[in-house]
């Protein structure tokens, strides 16, 4: 999966203007930047739910993209039914069962999904998208609502999914420490553009641009 060029405007505002990014299978790419910098817009273009004004994502042969939106939605029915929607044949199989166990949701399997807490709903949405078989995954702030143990469990699952099934994962995050733990590659955005990108360990420790330096300095990390 790659983008040669993608531009999306809302009125006079350019929400996204990026070019020449590649998302290889078997790697995790973190997308970072302040609120409103265009991360979700990029995620939507990659997921194919938003058609940019110019350019767009390019998928290779047999590539498919799963996507978890920033706002997790619970459909009517139980948590199990919701997770099953993401699975092959839409059945609550062993894979689904394993995923909700890893995410600490097993005891909520028969609960009505609409009654779950914010963090529980987000974990359910993550399990739902991980239940599918994709070559690429786009996750928009999957752990923003999660407590620390759940966050670490989610990171473990993403890592395993990436390496075991050779999936390319794009994960939007505000957590620099998460990007350091999880990502191979990092993209830093500002005003719809990619300001800096490179191996996560490198650019998050030795930023080359004033924008990313400033972003990291504020965090005091």
């Amino acid at each position: 999966m790659r983008i040669e060029k993608a531009i999306k405007r809302y009125g006079a505002k350019t929400a996204l203007d990026v070019a020449g990014i590649e998302f290889p299978r078997g790697t995790i790419c973190a997308v970072m930047g302040v609120n409103g910098c265009g991360k979700t817009t990029l995620a939507r273009v990659l997921a194919g739910t938003l058609r940019p004004d110019e350019g767009g994502r390019i998928l290779g042969d047999g590539e498919s993209v799963g996507y978890m939106p920033q706002r997790s939605y619970a459909f009517y029915g139980t948590l199990a039914r919701n997770v099953a929607l993401g699975a092959k044949e839409r059945r609550f199989d062993d894979r689904c069962r394993g995923l909700i166990k890893e995410l600490g949701l097993s005891h909520l399997e028969r609960e009505q999904a609409k009654k779950l807490s914010g963090g529980e709903t987000a974990r359910m949405a993550l399990a739902r998208v991980l239940a599918g078989t994709w070559t690429h995954l786009v996750l928009d702030e999957p752990t923003a609502a999660l407590d620390i143990p759940s966050t670490l469990a989610a990171e473990r699952l993403m890592r395993d999914y990436c390496t075991e099934e050779n999936v390319g994962i794009v994960v939007v995050t505000h957590s620099v420490s998460q990007a350091r733990r999880l990502a191979d590659h990092a993209i830093f955005m500002d005003g719809g553009r990619i300001v800096e990108e490179g191996p996560a360990a490198d650019i998050l420790s030795h930023p080359q641009t004033p924008e990313l330096s400033e972003f990291l300095a504020i965090l005091g990390s």
Binding site: A47, G66, Y67, P69, G86, V129, G132
Partner: protein
């Protein structure tokens, strides 16, 4: 006035044959037209909310306009279609309950569709993004979206039935308020009031309110159980 009210209660208690007939015709007509309007209007409204083309937004405006068509205008239109020189006279719908149902469906379907459209619009982005994200087909997404409206369905049905049972203009023009055939509660109330016979009018008014009250109670109980 008070005596008319007392007489009305007595009439209700006696199970008057004419009264019973009017109530039955009303129920048949209202239930049929509201259910048909619901069956057509719900998918229509969902489709209107899902559409993102210019045609879809134009159709939304057309539908909103149809929501405001005065019942007598709709009745007139149906009358002209069904009457002896009308293009649809071969359907033989003039002065029949079926003809009244057709007129009511024409009136109520846009209201059902418009209500669904504005409700679905609030859900459609989240549902579509989520469904697309896990690779669900368009058809499946539409079905899920309909399922997410289960609570709203009841509200919309109440509006549809309320319209159907309370409406006069269209049904009197198409049905002609023929006794023991097409006379419904609203047309009967008008007719008897015009004749100065308030008793039957009041009796019918009471039944009308009680019926709608009962329906509301039933629906709210069902609704609470479905939307858990």
């Amino acid at each position: 006035m008070l005596t008319a009210f007392e007489e009305a209660i007595a009439l209700l208690a006696s199970g008057d044959e004419m009264l019973t007939n009017i109530v039955l015709v009303t129920l048949r007509m209202s239930i049929a037209s509201s259910l048909i309007a619901l069956a057509i209007g719900m998918p229509l409204g969902t489709a209107l909310a899902m559409g993102r083309s210019k045609i879809a937004s134009a159709l939304v405006i057309v539908n909103r306009t149809l929501m405001g068509v005065p019942p007598v205008v709709c009745g007139l239109l149906c009358y002209l279609m069904f009457c002896g020189v009308g293009p649809l006279r071969w359907l033989q719908l003039l002065y029949t309950v079926e003809g009244m149902v057709v007129a009511q469906v024409l009136l109520i379907t846009p209201i059902v569709a418009g209500n669904m459209e504005s409700y679905v619009r609030g859900l459609v982005d989240d549902v579509r993004e989520t469904a697309r994200g896990i690779g669900l087909s368009r058809v499946r997404t539409a079905l899920l979206l309909l399922g997410e409206c289960r609570y709203q369905v009841f509200t919309v049905y109440l509006i549809a039935f309320g319209r159907a049972i309370a409406e006069v203009g269209a049904v009197s023009m198409v049905g002609g308020a023929i006794a023991y055939k097409t006379n419904v509660m609203t047309t009967a109330i008008m007719m008897y009031t015009n004749r100065g016979d308030f008793t039957l009018g009041i009796a019918l008014g009471i039944i009308l309110l009680l019926m709608f009250l009962t329906l509301n109670v039933v629906v709210s109980i069902v609704q609470r159980n479905v939307a858990r």
